[in-house]
């Protein structure tokens, strides 16, 4: 027990701070990127749509580990050197942005044509229609997917360890190599992740409840 309190928790707390420093900016910027890409893939001109589709297919088709490896170990071949932290955040943003854009796109496409027609018939301009009719509906539809994506990012932030950005998993790994007590240390690290994931799930659930509209995208009547 004293092993956990004296050695494991302080090390993992350091790791937690690094993990949060990875997750928070990556998920926010990645979300913004996803919204922009998703909107571009639905409303953009042809070339932009193709570009957005290519970006999404590419980054969703290749494992995140490979993307991180390319950013951290590959780019120096072109004379571009990234710090582990920078490489991790860039990799997370690009990958999560690609996934987020898929949810945003799906949500935008799911809006019925009649809603837009009704708004036009009332005299809404295109911008007003998007702002007051399309966006509130799309946001509700995209919320579960986008929230889940953030939860995924919490877990996949552990991959930063692979390119030597020492966060929770990395701290745990180092501690194990010093103490040779893998089960306790990794389980303890697991508890940190479980708490983060459970908290995020709970918040997402509350948000969904808060914005639920009867009869709208699976909400209960």
């Amino acid at each position: 027990m004293s092993f956990i309190v004296d050695r494991v928790i302080p090390a993992l707390n350091d790791g937690l701070i690094m993990s949060l420093a990875l997750i928070v900016p990556s998920s926010t910027i990645g979300f913004v990127l996803g919204v922009c890409t998703g909107v571009a893939r639905v409303f953009g001109p042809r070339w932009l749509r193709s570009l957005g589709n290519a970006f999404t297919t590419l980054f969703r088709g290749v494992p995140l580990v490979v993307q991180l490896m390319i950013l951290y170990f590959g780019l120096p071949n072109l004379g571009i050197y990234l710090e582990p932290y920078a490489a991790s955040v860039i990799g997370f943003i690009l990958c999560t942005g690609a996934y987020q854009s898929e949810y945003v796109r799906g949500a935008l496409l799911s809006i019925k044509q009649g809603q837009i027609k009704a708004a036009s018939a009332l005299g809404f301009t295109r911008l007003q229609t998007i702002l007051w009719i399309v966006a509130p509906q799309a946001a509700r539809r995209a919320l579960p997917g986008c929230g889940n994506e953030i939860i995924y990012l919490i877990k996949y932030s552990s991959l930063a360890y692979v390119i030597s950005c020492i966060e929770l998993t990395g701290e745990a790994k180092i501690l194990v190599s010093r103490t040779f007590r893998p089960t306790e240390v990794y389980l303890a690290a697991g508890v940190y992740y479980l708490v983060m994931v459970s908290a995020a799930t709970w918040i997402l659930h509350k948000l969904e409840e808060r914005f639920a509209v009867p009869g709208f995208c699976g909400a209960k009547k």
Binding site: G61, Q67, M69, F73, E102, K155, S158, L194, V197
Partner: protein
């Protein structure tokens, strides 16, 4: 310039047979864990929907644990910790299959549960009315329908597992990533080699997803729509 490119090309070509061998290991790992996840996930889903209270709690805890943990950490925890603790001595491939499979069972059980719950309740009731026992109704009526509905989600799970399998190189599993990493650290052609690995994963995903789409078409029942899956 062309010479430089040719040199890079020859590095890739030299390494390709070695990396391609890793493709087999990757496919084996993915197939193994997908199968394990299926075999465990289906009964879990059935128990979660129809089982007694205690089994539901047990399954929810299992799902909560495996879905709340990063795959990387699970690999470390089981391979270096728990497996050794219980005296299980596994090859890296077997260990990768087992860990990914246990995690996948958690994810797959939720796919199947969703499908089962989306079926109209009248299906099982009609089976019971014909004199089937509940277990027979589930086996012959509910599952054949639910599994068909699950194919898109399952195809999604396949591409997630394929990408997750790239993490198994941390255990030394000789799959695509481990081999790419090995060659790259000797030739210093990281960029070219990792891009090659990326292309490989991309191709396997495409092939796998289109195979699953074929399967979906093959077992389709008219008038039985399912949500479109994508990778």
């Amino acid at each position: 310039m062309t010479e430089l490119l040719l040199a890079k090309l020859s590095v890739i070509l030299d390494a390709l047979p070695y990396i391609l061998e890793g493709t087999l290991v990757t496919i084996l790992t993915v197939a193994g864990s997908l199968a394990l996840g299926f075999v465990v996930g289906v009964p879990m889903a059935v128990l979660e929907v129809y089982g007694p209270r205690w089994s539901r709690c047990l399954i929810r805890t299992y799902v909560w644990f495996f879905r709340g943990m990063p795959i990387l950490l699970l690999l470390f925890l089981f391979y270096f910790g728990l497996f050794e603790l219980i005296g299980l001595n596994l090859s890296t491939i077997a260990a990768s299959c087992l860990v990914l499979g246990m995690a996948s069972a958690a994810y797959q059980s939720q796919i199947f549960r969703g499908s089962i719950q989306s079926l109209p309740a009248g299906q099982l009731r009609a089976a019971l009315a014909l004199g089937m026992r509940e277990s027979e109704g589930i086996l012959y009526i509910v599952l054949p329908q639910a599994l068909r509905l699950s194919i898109p989600g399952w195809s999604n799970e396949f591409s997630i597992l394929l990408k997750d399998s790239a993490m198994c190189f941390v255990l030394g599993t000789p799959e695509i990533m481990a081999r790419t990493h090995f060659v790259a650290s000797r030739t210093y052609e990281h960029l070219a080699l990792y891009l090659t690995a990326g292309v490989l994963y991309f191709c396997i995903t495409l092939v796998g997803v289109s195979l699953l789409r074929c399967l979906e078409r093959k077992v389709r029942i008219p008038g039985y729509a399912s949500v479109n899956g994508s990778f």
